[in-house]
Every structure is written in C-alpha cells, then in structure tokens.
C-alpha cells in the first residue's frame, strides 16, 4: 500500500448522488486486486477520518473510484476539481479471491453502490461469468455499460420495475440459476439485507460465496479496531481481515 498525494483527473456526477473519481496514481494502480479499496484523506481539519472508497477499475496508471455522497465528508469530496491533488492510501483490504479458474461458474451479485468493487472482478474472471445487479430504480443504475462489456450474462433488477426485472435481485438469481455441472462460486457486495440473502442462498445450495462487507471505519489499515464484523472466529476487522469474507464465517445480527 502507498500513502501519497495524487492528481485528480476527473470528479463528476454520474447518477443521483453518485460520483466518479478518476485519479492518476502511477505507483498504485498496478497493485490493485479486484475488490480492494482506497482511503481518501480530505485534509480539511473537519473530516478527520479518511473515506474508504471502492476501487472500480485500475488501469494504465489510473484508479477509477465511484462513491455516493451520503454525508458532509463525501459532499466535500464531490467539490474537488480536476487538477487538484488528493492524498490517498491504497490498495487496502484483501480483495476477492482470484484463484478460481474457468472450471468454475462465477456468479457476481451486487446491489446499489455495492456494484462498484465487482466490476474489476467481472472483467478479470475468465470463462463463465454471470452478473446480477440490483438497484432501487432506473435513475440509480450505474456502470451498466461497463458490466455489459465484461459479460454476456448481465441481468439487472430494479425494486420499482422501472428497468429490467421487477423485484429483488435474489429472486432473479433464484429464477435464473439452473443446475450447473460446474462448481459455482458467488461474489457479492451490497446492502446488508442483500448479503444476508446471498449467505442463505449459498448455504442452501452448498455454494461457495464471498461477501464484501462495509462498516464505519477509523484508520482503514487495522490499527484502531473500529470496523469489526462478527464472525464464527469472533470479531474480525473489515478493513484488514476483509473486506471480503467467506459467507459461512459471517454472523449477521438480527
């Protein structure tokens, strides 16, 4: 991981409350694994904690991050302009496992802003990659074209039916995933209810599944023990032991 100030190439709105941040990071981009994240330091004396943002793509010296403005920190981040410097620490987190080859059927399931760390995974998986993405409504859909370029099997669901399948993404997964002769591995990221549904789906079908989790973070590199998740092995740090965990390990609270 590197801690350095890099240049902003682009910081623009791509959907309601959603922004794309493109950084020139020649010392970092080539070390990024699918599913890893970056800490962004606002250095304004007010938002003292770095913002953990998912890395969507890393190519040709650049990092592409996508974030949602949810509070005053991310709102201030959205005010940074092209050419500004910004301090980042990356790559962080363990990322998704990359050892499963083409003998597996790769199932990628994402919800809302949680689709971001899955793009690079979809792009780098060889063989059979099927991607299922869920959003609240058509206006919230992001990265549709990027995912479409990465796989022939892209299915999108919206809660209100304004685009694609009408309803819950897990219902669509259940309808579409017929029996396969290949072993299957699921990679998922999204809101907690989605991850919980993936966990129980995977358990029922004896499928290997990896979940990328989110929790309020302090440092981002394992020192403060702020961002923990309950697992069968006790509390684990989301930033350092994760963000990707085996679905079987995670204990979601009621």
């Amino acid at each position: 991981m590197e801690l350095e100030t890099v240049k902003i190439l682009k910081n623009r709105k791509i959907a309601e409350d959603i922004y794309e941040l493109l950084l020139y990071a020649p010392n970092i981009w080539h070390r990024v694994l699918p599913g890893q994240f970056a800490e962004i330091y606002l250095e304004n004396g007010i938002n003292i904690l770095p913002r953990p943002l998912s890395i969507c793509q890393a190519a040709l010296g650049n990092l592409r991050l996508i974030y949602k403005t949810v509070g005053d920190g991310t709102r201030r981040l959205s005010e940074f302009r092209e050419g500004d410097g910004i301090r980042i620490l990356a790559p962080l987190g363990n990322g998704f496992p990359v050892d499963f080859d083409a003998s597996y059927e790769h199932i990628v399931i994402g919800g809302g802003i949680g689709v971001v760390p899955l793009l690079r995974l979809a792009q780098t998986r060889r063989g059979d990659v099927r991607v299922f993405l869920g959003f609240r409504a058509k206006e919230q859909i992001i990265l549709r074209e990027d995912f479409a370029a990465a796989t022939e099997h892209l299915r999108i669901a919206t809660d209100d039916g304004s685009y694609g399948y009408h309803g819950n993404i897990i219902s669509l997964v259940k309808e579409e995933l017929a029996d396969s002769d290949k072993p299957r591995v699921i990679y998922a990221c999204g809101p907690k209810p989605l991850l919980r549904a993936v966990q129980s789906f995977a358990a029922k079908n004896n499928t290997l599944a990896y979940l990328s989790l989110e929790e309020r973070m302090g440092c981002g590199f394992g020192a403060c023990i702020g961002c923990v998740v309950k697992t069968v092995h006790g509390y684990k740090k989301v930033c350092k032991d994760g963000t990707v965990f085996l679905a079987d390990e995670v204990i979601f609270d009621e």
Binding site: M1, L3, Y41, E43, G45, I46, N47, I48, L49, P50, G73, L89, E215, R216, M217, G218, C219, F221, G222, A223, C224, I225, G226, C227, V228, V229, K230, G234, Y235, K240, D253
Partner: protein, 303 residues
C-alpha cells in the same frame, strides 16, 4: 548550529524524544511500520492489554464529529499471553521505548497484568483507569477517589516498571484525582483520556454508536487537555506528565510542553495522517530552532 537535545527522562526512563503514540490508536506499532520508522518514536504506548482476551463492543464503534471522532471500541485485545509472545518481541526490534497500557475489570485484573509483566522487557506501564467504553472497570476507577487510590497502590506494589496513571477528564477536579494517584505511588501521569460524548443520526433518529456513548478525541479536546495538564502541573510540581489530547502538529505538542508536560502522545492524528508522529517531531525541532532552544527543558511557560 549545535545539535538539538530532544531527550527526556520520565521516572528514570530516558526517552530519545518526547513524541509517543497514544494507546489504542497505534496497535503495537505493526500497522504503522509501512508509514514511519518506528525507531524515530520516543515511545510506543500499546493498545490496552488485559489478562485474558476481550471481545470489545458491538459495532458501529466509530463516529466522526466536527474536527474529531467518537469511539467505543471497548478495549478489544487478544490478551496478555499473546501480547507477551508477539507484540513485545516485535517492538523490541526497534530503538524505541515500550509503554504498556494495562486494563482490567477489577483491581485484581489490573494487578495480574502488572505481575505478569514483571519480567517482561518493557519500559513503563500505563494504568488505564479512564476508558469510558467498558461497563466494569475503566473509568469507574478513574472517577472514584477511593477506587483510584486503591488500584494505583495495589498495582504499584506489584509492578517492577515505573507506572504512569492515565487519568479521566470526566471529573470535576482533575488536580484532586492527580494528587490521589500521586499519593498512591504513581510515578507519572498521562493526561487526558477521551471525553464522554454522543452523536445522534437525525435521519434515523438513533445513536450512531451501538454503545450509545463513546470517547471524544481530536483537535476539539485539546484546550481541555492543555488546561488539565496546566492545573495538574500547578498542583503537583514534581510529577512528570505525559500530555495528550488533540495533538496534530509540532506547535500543538509545544503547547503541552509549555503547559507542563514532559512528553506528548499522538492519538487520533495518526488516523488523519499515518505519518503524523514524524511530522510532529519535525515540528518540535523547527520550533526549537526558530526560538534558539537547544533542549526541551528550556521550553517554559511565561506566566
């Protein structure tokens, strides 16, 4: 120009410089070795260690507030055995002093940790009787006069290393608590721990922290910490003080030295900038050079 002397002696231990890390923000240093040279630190104060592993509190444990943060980690740690096996040897690779922050639910637990560390290769103990995030122990000792005296006295009776007592700012009269700790045998005082605070998410109308209350740290608490260091220094002229609370620059550190601290600890600033300690140490050097000071004891408050 002559060489600056940044060394400082606290309770018989000589530290190469006055910049320490504050407990709970630095683990046992491992996570920071990628950012800074641990050798350059005066001391590493470890994350609180208890006699057996502690699970800590349910998340969310972290909430950012304007210029600072709240935490309610609850002293999650892997316990003393693992600490002795793994963390002490790790830290001993570096030319820095080791201050072990010790915690317990009961006076007996604090004593057990100190006893088990009797033969350990560490330089100082810091008694954590001020953590606001655990239900038994912690702050209960730091805010009750009798309990404070007894726990300091008991731990001091069994400890080999000098003992610094980390006091809670959540009291009406800090000087009184400081005197009690000193009377009970404290060799030094660490001032201050976090201030109890709360944040509510107005959109969900729920407390942000699962624990409801947490410890406030960061720049906003610095004036409170400076005031308490000054009050304690005035009340007990002889006791060494390790000052902490919202330090993020060399000038912040100097402010504590002027208030009467012998050394400072850097906490929350490590999250804002993982290289904060080196930045602060350089800032102290710059200050000394600017005003022609050659050693730390020349930095005195003009009252």
């Amino acid at each position: 120009m002559s060489e600056l002397d940044l060394s400082v002696n606290i309770a018989g231990v000589t530290f190469k410089n006055p910049v320490f890390t504050a407990s709970g923000t630095f683990g046992a240093g491992r996570e920071y070795a990628d950012f800074i040279d641990i050798n350059t630190l005066g001391a590493v104060t470890t994350k609180g260690v208890s006699i057996v592993p502690w699970e800590g509190n349910k998340p969310p444990r972290i909430a950012e507030v304007h210029g600072g943060m709240l935490n309610s980690i609850g002293l999650q740690n892997a316990g003393l055995e693992k600490f002795i096996q793994e963390d002490i040897p790790f830290l001993r690779q570096f030319g820095t002093k080791i201050i072990v922050n010790i915690c317990g639910h009961t006076a007996e637990e604090y004593v057990s940790v100190a006893r088990e560390l009797y033969d350990a290769d560490v330089d100082m103990l810091e008694l954590n009787i001020s953590c606001p995030n655990i239900t038994e122990g912690g702050i209960a000792f730091g805010t009750d006069e009798k309990a404070l005296y007894d726990v300091v006295y008991d731990v001091k009776s069994f400890a080999r290393q000098p003992l610094s007592v980390k006091l809670s700012p959540n009291v009406t009269n800090i000087s009184k608590m400081a005197k009690i700790a000193a009377d009970a045998g404290a060799d030094a005082l660490s001032l201050i721990n976090t201030i109890v605070g709360m944040k509510i998410d107005v959109h969900t109308r729920k407390p942000v922290l699962n624990n409801v209350y947490g410890g406030l740290s960061g720049a906003g608490i610095k004036p409170v910490a400076v005031r308490m260091v000054h009050q304690v220094r005035t009340a007990i002229p002889y006791i060494p003080i390790i000052g902490m609370g919202g330090i993020s620059s060399g000038e912040d550190a100097v402010e504590f030295l002027l208030a009467g601290a012998s050394a400072v600890s850097v906490g929350t600033a490590n999250f804002e900038n993982p290289r904060a300690t080196s930045f602060i140490l350089q800032g102290i050097r710059d200050y000394m050079t600017k005003y022609g000071f050659s050693s730390l004891n020349e930095i005195k408050l003009d009252e």
